[in-house]
């Protein structure tokens, strides 16, 4: 495996051609097409309850398409790691790893509504439907060798951090057994109150071990200078993402929370890369421009809501439209906010020490009191008059305690709160009609 790296073989050549020529060329063609389209549409006022679409959305599509395109040629050319969303990826980037985010990929499968098909493949092997739909989609995709992105590169290393849930560990063990590659685990203890010094030490030891393992797979160890630089980029990207979100404190919010669910992709999958930061700079500037011009994410913003938990990926548009038609916008979500918080704690002056804190103190690894404080703060900062807590059948750690959170938010902040039972990935676990009926009843109660 070590020999894979540095061997400028056929795979590497293909990879470099795709990365340096094909990707940029496709991007150019795509933007030329988009320019023609927007020229043809000039003067047309978009119909429906939404404001004009974000220009950056096109750039986002290009960025993510290139990422997945490069991925198709990555194995055999550069070391490939499959990584959980909350993993300290800053350690891998300097070694030239191509990082695949199965969660991000599963979300894509969910948007395309292929989760039931992928899931059935592993349900037949005995996996329960009660498991989170992300691992079901991902493992199904591996078993069937089917993916909406064409092809995922085979991993050389599996990197799992259990700061989001324990399910990831079992999921990655299944991947390790399938691919016969090493699995490296970072296991931050669950934090009640504040993390203790011995917790931090324990996580730090694991990061040191990670440096060793990643170095062995890549064929060399990352230098501290390299880690510092990636940490700087990751921090900057996270802060930029936070600035994008913060623009929604304005009235009207210049975009919708639903837009945010899609624009989160680079901070998850490309964190620590310059193109991620360039993208968020562009997005932030566009949002600022919209704020200056008074352009809203929806045309007629009358109510501002907070959303808790992952989105219902396969019905994101349906939910947003239902709300926007009645003047409701999700102006902030605890999910997108989590990505603006964790990385902001990493510090190039102490990359490892700060990574310990950043990756331990994340929302899903903390007690309910902290989760409540985050929700209450967001509701106030974004002047929300209501909140929808998505009780996600898939994501138990995120959904537990929501009935208590609902009562406290309603009582302490005097806002209307509802719990919506759904699933982020599997349409079989959500009756859209009933869900929309409940959301409608909730909106009617604001009259």
């Amino acid at each position: 495996m070590i020999g894979v790296v540095g061997k400028l073989g056929r795979r590497r050549l293909e990879y470099e051609v795709v990365k340096r020529l094909v990707g940029p060329l496709l991007t150019e063609v795509e933007s030329a097409r988009a320019r023609v389209k927007s020229f043809r549409k000039r003067g047309h006022q978009p119909k429906g309850p939404f404001g004009p679409p974000l220009e950056s959305a096109r750039k986002l599509k290009e960025l993510m398409t290139r990422h997945y395109l490069e991925g198709r040629y990555a194995d055999g050319a550069v070391p490939v790691a499959w990584v959980t969303s909350g993993f300290p990826v800053e350690v891998l980037r300097p070694l030239g790893f191509h990082a695949v985010y199965p969660e991000n990929h599963a979300a894509l499968c969910a948007v395309q509504r292929v989760v039931p098909h992928l899931s059935e493949a592993i349900e037949q092997q005995g996996y329960s439907r009660d498991l989170c739909s992300y691992p079901r989609a991902d493992l199904g995709s591996v078993v069937l060798q089917e993916t909406p992105v064409g092809r995922l590169p085979r991993p050389d290393l599996l990197c799992c951090c259990t700061n989001i849930c324990q399910t990831t560990l079992y999921w990655y063990r299944a991947l390790a057994a399938h691919f016969h590659v090493p699995l490296v685990l970072v296991d931050p203890p669950f934090v009640y109150g504040e993390a203790k010094p011995h917790h931090r030490e324990y996580v730090r030891d694991q990061l040191e071990e990670l440096l060793d393992v990643a170095g062995k797979v890549a064929g060399r160890r990352a230098t501290m200078d390299e880690i510092v630089e990636v940490t700087r980029l990751a921090r900057e990207g996270t802060l930029l993402w936070g600035e994008c979100l913060a623009e929604s404190r304005n009235r009207p919010a210049p975009w919708t929370g639903i837009d945010g669910f899609f624009h989160i992709a680079p901070i998850v999958a490309l964190r620590g890369k310059p193109e991620c930061n360039a993208y968020y700079r562009q997005l932030r500037d566009e949002l600022r421009h919209r704020v200056d011009k008074g352009i809203g994410g929806i045309r007629d913003e009358r109510h501002r809501l907070l959303w808790d938990n992952l989105p219902i990926w396969f019905d994101v548009r349906g939910t947003a439209t239902l709300l926007a038609e009645r003047g409701f916008n999700f102006v902030c979500t605890s999910y997108t906010n989590a990505w603006a918080e964790a990385g902001s704690r990493i510090d190039p002056a102490d990359p490892l020490g700060s990574a310990v804190i950043a990756y331990t103190d994340i929302i899903l690894n903390q007690d309910l009191g902290k989760r409540y404080a985050t929700l209450a703060r967001l509701a106030e900062e974004y002047t929300c008059d209501g909140a929808v807590l998505h009780s996600d059948r898939s994501c138990k750690p995120y959904s537990i305690g929501q009935l208590d959170l609902k009562q406290r938010l309603a009582k302490d902040l005097g806002i209307k709160v509802m719990v919506l039972e759904a699933d982020h990935g599997d349409p079989r676990a959500y009756a859209v009609e009933q869900g929309h009926g409940r959301l409608t009843a909730f909106m009617e109660s604001f009259a």
């Binding site: 009935l403 309603a410 509802m418 039972e421 009756a431 009609e433 009933q434 009926g437 409940r438 409608t440 009843a441 009617e444 109660s445 009259a447």
Partner: protein, 254 residues
């Protein structure tokens, strides 16, 4: 104005379709109740047409229920949660907790002292705890609906039925019958277990909250009694409980 028809309300539920004509005070002057037909548009158009013909003129129409989007000519379309709250508030005139047990779902709605929905909880994931659940089990036991109260009131205690899933409860009840347990006790136990489920959906109620009930199941006295004891307070059945949603729909266009 009292007795002067002012609005029509339509509630297209999963089991029955209800249409009411109300006066300015919310009194129901006329109504129709029919099993819901798969062709909702035709059914509701016919029912509204019949009532309008009797009145000799057309009135504004409010629509609610699962089939609310398919009521032609509706002036206003609202969810059954809002309409039940409005209907209940019109009847009680103050804040209350409404338990609506219909054919397909059970709703708990906290109605504020202004008649608005404060909060709501619903069981709409499965048939357990709904009219449909009772219908299935009673059908299996061959007990007609109007004899349920007689059986339940004769039992000196309920035989515990632990399953609240329609499928499992049905087979559990069959095994209890096969074991030779008294039908009266089984029926009482069944109602008690259902009531407990509804009570847990309601959560902790403030001590002074008054509870009212609507929906077809409210016509089942055994269920009302079981619910009163599970909630440890009197449960008042609203007049014409099946029509509360339609009343709320009519009130919204009054």
């Amino acid at each position: 104005m009292a007795n002067e028809p002012v609005a029509i309300g339509v509630d297209v539920g999963s089991t029955t379709c209800k249409v009411v004509v109300i006066d300015g005070d919310g009194a129901i002057l006329d109504h129709r109740v029919e099993p819901t037909h798969p062709r909702i548009e035709q059914q509701t158009t016919r029912l509204i047409g019949e009532l309008s013909a009797t009145l000799g003129r057309a009135l504004p129409v409010g629509a609610t229920g699962y089939g609310r989007q398919r009521v032609f000519g509706a002036t206003r379309v609202l969810t059954e949660i809002t309409c039940h709250a409005r209907g209940a508030f019109c009847r009680v005139g103050r804040a209350a907790v409404l338990v609506d047990m219909g054919g397909q779902d059970t709703k708990i709605i906290r109605v504020g002292d202004d008649g608005a929905v404060g909060d709501f909880a619903m069981n709409d994931k499965c048939a357990a705890g709904t009219g449909r659940f009772l219908e299935v089990i009673l059908g299996r036991l061959q007990v007609p609906f109007d004899e349920v109260w007689l059986h339940v009131s004769r039992a000196d205690h309920g035989i515990a039925v632990s399953s609240t899933c329609t499928v499992f409860a049905e087979s559990e009840v069959i095994s209890l019958v096969a074991e030779g347990q008294e039908l009266d006790g089984i029926l009482r136990g069944l109602h008690e277990s259902l009531a407990k489920r509804v009570a847990s959906l309601a959560g902790a109620l403030p001590p002074d909250a008054s509870v009212v009930m609507s929906g077809g199941v409210a016509l089942n006295a055994a269920m009302v009694r079981a619910l009163s004891s599970a909630l440890r307070r009197e449960v008042r059945v609203l007049p014409e409980p099946q029509l509360v949603g339609a009343l709320g729909a009519a009130l919204s266009v009054r």
